[in-house]
Each structure stands twice: as C-alpha cells, then as structure tokens.
C-alpha cells in the first residue's frame, strides 16, 4: 500500500453559508509532485489553508504524515513548508533577515540560510531590502522560506505567479527535482494547466469545490484521446466523402476533425482520390486543458 503523506476525509468548508470546498478526499503519496488543478474559485487555496491549519474544516478530518492535524499541529508544521498565494515577506527587511526570522523560530543552524538561498539563486541579492525585489524574486524568497529546514512536504499555492518565462522554467525544474534530490513531496496548485503538465506525477482536479478527478498523471494521459485534424478544400463535400468511409468529421476552426485513433494515410488517400486538395493533416493529442474542460465543463480557466 502506498505511503500517503496527506489524507483528508471528505473535508468541507463554507464561508457565510457559501460552500467553498465540498467533501474533498485528498490522497497524496510520499515522493510525488501532486498538482492541484482547478479554475479560480474552485477551492484550491481554501483546501491548502485547511491543510496548514489556517482554516478549520466544517466537516471531515485531515491527516498529514499519518497524524491528525488537530492533535499534532506543531509536529506536522515543522515538517511542512508552504507558499500560499503571494509571497508573505517583510519588505523592510533583507532576504537574509527574513530567513533569519524563520530560522530562529524553527531552531535551525545558520548554514540553512545559505543552503536555501543557493537553492533559489538569491545569494547575490540576499542582503538587499526585499522592497527592492521584483515579484519573481519575492516568489523565490517565499520558496526559500518554504524550503528552510529540510521539510518533507511543500504546499505551494500558485507558485508560478509573477514569474517570467525563465523564472517559470527554473521553478519547474526545481519542483521536479525536489522529490528525487531532497526527498520532498510537493503539492502545488495552479490554474495554468500547462505549468503543471510538465512536472506533476499525480493530479487532482477541483471544480466548484468538488474533486472531479484524482490519480496519477499517466491515468489522465489515457483520457487525452488523439484526433486527426485535416485542412482540405470543399469542406462540405469532403465531410460527405469521409462519412461514406465511416469517419465522422466535425468542422473546428476551418479544419475537419475526426476524434479518436484514425489511419491518417487512409483518410488522406480517400480525399485525394476524390480530387480534394489536402493542405494539412496532423494527429493531435488533447491537451490537459481539453481534458479538464470536458470534465468540469468550465467556461473559463
């Protein structure tokens, strides 16, 4: 049986009668990168705050490291680093002073500060006041604070916020390496699905406070059915011709699309033999966005 580092049992949370999270049972395996996906307002941040003890669930129970969060809060939070939404840092202090505050509270050796600064690439600016930092640098400092003290679990809420493309790449590779090199389990939430597509080993999808999918990212891959996209002249006639061969084609963005696995060569041959000019023929996989949209029927991510 896999070692679960997080296990919640049907947790729910409402704000003034408005449900934010409804019966979410989260299971995160040790050593995984668990992507917590959902559109804005789906309940991701509320769930992460409940995992950190910042909010109390109205119903359900939370266990981290096999222990109840209610009864072993201090022990659990010693092993859990977090970055919730925007980085919370003291802007009138330097990065080093911010880390010193957390270091003292966690009772760690001073060498920890240099270790995490090197890890997030802030050594050169560590003595500058944080108010002079860009949002991306603040985000990196927030991550350094979360990593301080050899944490076993990281809860990162929208960690790519404010990062430029290069910063995103760095963050992605750092997150990807954390389980292997530092033995850290990572839970990260995002509404930008492309971000987590490249790092997640497991995926949980939230929609309107409910979990609509949870499992290995590979299981989600199976849901990404391929499709054949065709650029062709005389679209109506081509559609009829394909139908005669038993292929149902839909017109999407001026291209004919046949869902499922199709023999592209046979389709091409059928169209060319009937005098059609084929300008585009490609087998495409559905993106995570497509899968997510089909599951949640969300209009906007």
């Amino acid at each position: 049986m896999p070692d679960r580092i997080i296990r919640t049992a049907a947790i729910s949370k409402s704000f003034r009668g408005c449900p934010a999270v409804r019966g979410v049972s989260l299971e995160v395996e040790r050593g995984s990168v668990y992507a917590f996906l959902g559109p804005n307002g789906a309940g991701k941040t509320t769930t992460i705050r409940m995992l950190l003890g910042l909010l109390r669930p109205d119903h359900g129970t939370i266990e981290l490291f096999g222990q109840s969060l209610d009864r072993h809060r201090a022990e659990i939070l010693t092993k859990t680093g977090s970055l919730v939404e925007t980085p919370s840092v003291y802007t009138h202090l330097s990065a080093r002073e911010n880390l010193e505050i957390a270091r003292r509270i966690l009772d760690l050796p001073r060498s920890e500060i240099d270790r995490v600064l090197a890890l997030v690439g802030l050594e050169n600016r560590s003595r500058h006041l944080v108010r002079t930092y860009s949002l991306g640098m603040k985000q990196r400092l927030g991550l350094a604070l979360a990593l301080l003290g050899q944490r076993e679990l990281l809860l990162l809420d929208e960690p790519m916020n404010g990062l430029d493309p290069a910063g995103m790449n760095e963050m992605r590779s750092l997150i990807r390496d954390l389980p292997g090199t530092h033995g850290v389990t990572v839970v990260l939430s995002s509404h930008l699905l492309a971000e987590v597509d490249q790092v997640a080993t497991h995926v949980g999808m939230l929609s309107q406070g409910e979990m609509v999918f949870q499992g290995p990212a590979s299981a989600l891959d199976r849901l990404r059915k391929p499709r054949l996209s065709i650029g062709v002249d005389r679209v109506a006639a081509a559609t009829s011709r394909l139908a005669e061969h038993g292929w149902t084609a839909d017109l999407v963005d001026e291209r004919l699309v046949i869902a499922g696995e199709v023999d592209a060569a046979a389709v091409n041959r059928a169209l060319v033999e009937h005098g059609h000019a084929v300008s585009h023929l490609a087998v495409e996989s559905a993106t995570l966005e497509d899968v997510f949209l089909s599951m949640t029927k969300a209009e906007v991510l």
Binding site: L55, R56, A74, S88, Y90, E97, G142
Partner: protein
C-alpha cells in the same frame, strides 16, 4: 533557547527600520523639546510664576505625555506593529509555522509594552537632560538640583496603568486589518478617557483614564484610606491588562486566517 524566547527575538527583529522604532524616541523627545523651549524662551516669566521651576517642568512633561501623547503613541505603536503582519498578508506564513499562535500574540504584546516603557525611559532621560541644560543656560530659573521624585514615581505608575489600554489596543490592531480603524478606535478611546478622568466613579475603571487618574490620585494629599486611589487603579490596571491579554490570545488562537 525556549520557543517563546525565540519567537520574542524575531518580533524584536521585525521592528528594525520601522517607524514604530523611531517613534519611541520622537514622541517623548518632542514633549521634552516643547517644555525645554518654554523654559528657555520664557525663563523670566517662569521664574516670576513659580518658586520651583524644576517641579513645574517635570509636572508639565508628565502631564503632557500622559494626557495627550501617550494615548496617541500607544495607538500608533500597536497599529504599526500589527501593520508589519497585515501588510503583504504575512499571517498566512507566520501562523503556518510550528509555534502555537498565542506565542506570537504574547510576543507582540511584550514588544509593544517594551516600546512604551522605553519611550518612558527616553522621556525621563530627556527631561533630566533638558533640566540640566536649563540650569546652566538660564540661571534665572534657579534650578540648582534635579530631584527625581516628581518624575520617577508618576512614570512608574503610568507604566503600570497603561498596560490595560495597551493590551486592548493591541487586540484591536491585530483583530482588524485597517490601520485607520485601529487609529480611530484609539482616538475615540482617548477622548473617552479624557472625559472619564474627572469622574471618581468611572475614572479608575476606564483604561484610557487610568494613567491620568493614577498620577492625579498619587499626588493627592488626602490619601488616607486603607487602599489609596493610586494603588487601587494600579491593581485594576494590571488585572485588566491580564484579562485583556489572555482573552485576546484565546481569540487570536481560534481565529481563521482567510
């Protein structure tokens, strides 16, 4: 080092480069400066008006501080200290750390109290220094000695009785994010205290009038009761501060951080 002490040292670290730290010197020294200027430029008039200019100067410093400056100082300091966490919504990372929440609450209250008491030391030191300068630069004032009784005793009473208002203002500042709200509460409370101080029924019980009441009662010649009004208000102030601090810490520990 025990966890509470570690948390306390981090709270001290956080006031570095803040207005809260500067105000500890600015507020009392402003009162001292005003009194010094009155003494320096109005030396002749003061010499005619009073036989004991030093006693009058210290009384004015203590009164000006207690009635006007200290309530504003308390309000501003607690709001600024809370603002360090309200800004950038730092609570969500601070309270996701292992120490129990009450430790953060109590440590911040200790820092606020420490800043108040430091300001009192600055006021005492500044008043003595200004008296020494006046004694040399304005011989007409005839300040030959600087007896400290009229300064130290009231300042000790004020330091103790101000704890209750500090504890309440601390809770208000942490409870609501609005800096303006905390300032507004403090100013209304200050006016209430100012009004209540003249009432023997309400004066000793309103936290913002306790300090004024304490120095007034302490200087009264008619202290003959088993427990004089000054001692009673001291006890009420300290007890009130404990109740406010414990209640605030309990509420803070149960609060949801959204």
């Amino acid at each position: 080092m025990p966890m509470l002490l570690r948390v306390l040292t981090t709270e001290v670290m956080k006031i570095k480069r803040t207005l809260a730290l500067w105000m500890v010197f600015i507020a009392p020294l402003f009162v001292v400066l005003l009194n010094f200027l009155v003494g320096y430029f109005g030396a002749d008039q003061l010499a005619k008006r009073s036989q004991d200019v030093w006693a009058m100067t210290t009384r004015q410093s203590v009164s000006l501080w207690t009635v006007l400056m200290m309530p504003l100082f308390l309000t501003l300091e607690t709001a600024l200290l809370a603002g360090v966490e309200h800004a950038d919504r730092n609570w969500k990372s601070l309270l996701a750390l292992p120490p129990p929440r009450w430790m953060f609450y109590v440590s911040k209250l200790v820092v606020a109290t420490g800043l108040l008491w430091t300001a009192h030391l600055v006021l005492v030191g500044g008043t003595i220094t200004s008296g020494a300068i006046l004694s040399v630069s304005k011989p007409v004032l005839k300040i030959h000695a600087l007896p400290l009784d009229g300064l130290l005793s009231p300042m000790l009473r004020i330091s103790a009785t101000a704890l209750c208002a500090t504890a309440i203002q601390h809770w208000v500042s942490l409870r609501w994010q609005s800096f303006t709200g905390a300032m507004g509460f403090g100013m209304c409370a200050m006016v209430t205290g100012f009004m209540a101080v003249n009432s023997p029924d309400y004066g000793p019980w309103v936290p913002w009038s306790m300090s004024m009441y304490a120095i007034r009662a302490g200087s009264s010649a008619a202290v003959t009761a088993a427990m004089d009004p000054s001692s009673r208000v001291l006890l009420v102030g300290i007890a009130g501060a404990l109740v406010a601090a414990v209640s605030g810490a309990i509420e803070f520990s149960r609060r949801e951080i959204n």
